[in-house]
């Protein structure tokens, strides 16, 4: 089944991301003097993240037309919502609100994407 294949590929990519993240943190924690090496090790999790994105894109290309329409609408909702929230909070940061790490952006997008999928699927039931 298509959906099973997606979860397998996505799961493997996420596992790779988790492993690379843990290893890179351990290495950096042990101390790396060379700045270039420190930079490369710290961004190394981006490689499996690219694999995660690739599995998502592959799945969107594989699914049927209705599911693709639902995904596109959900992604548009996620994009718009993330833009509004991050821009809005950016303005708040300029008046003294606590700075939030960039790591918060992806979880925000993922939550909004999930909400978008939930409502998108309900519309067509």
């Amino acid at each position: 089944m298509r959906i099973g294949r997606f979860y397998r590929e996505f799961g493997l990519a996420m596992l790779a991301y988790a492993i690379v993240s843990v290893i890179s943190l351990k290495i950096l924690g042990a101390g790396v003097d060379n700045q270039t090496l420190r930079t490369l090790i710290s961004v190394s999790p981006v490689v499996p993240i690219c694999a995660v994105c690739w599995t998502i894109l592959r799945n969107i290309r594989r699914v049927d037309e209705l599911q693709r329409a639902i995904q596109v609408e959900a992604l548009a909702f996620s994009l718009a919502g993330t833009a509004i929230i991050t821009m809005g909070y950016g303005f708040l940061e300029s008046v003294g609100y606590p700075r939030i790490t960039m790591f918060a952006v992806w979880p925000l997008m993922a939550v909004l994407w999930t909400i978008g999928l939930f409502y998108g699927e309900r519309r067509y039931k």
Binding site: V63, D64, E65, L66, Q67, E121, R123, Y124, K125
Partner: protein, 76 residues
Amino acid sequence: MKNRLKQLRAVHGLSQGALAARLDVSRQTVNALENGRYDPSLPLAFRIARLFDASIEDVFEDQATSSGKQKPRPDQ
């Protein structure tokens, strides 16, 4: 668009899942088509008509020419 998909499926003794497999779409898509919540693309409409050995007009009814109440589409 109104359609006779459910009737044709019943005549051919197909479940939604079986029809979905033959059309290479998800069961969710078949369900949405039958309930008039989704209109298929032209290639999918042709595949459906060919599967049931019917013309597209035999399967789908143009909303502009149909009579009676329609379930509103999500985008309306």
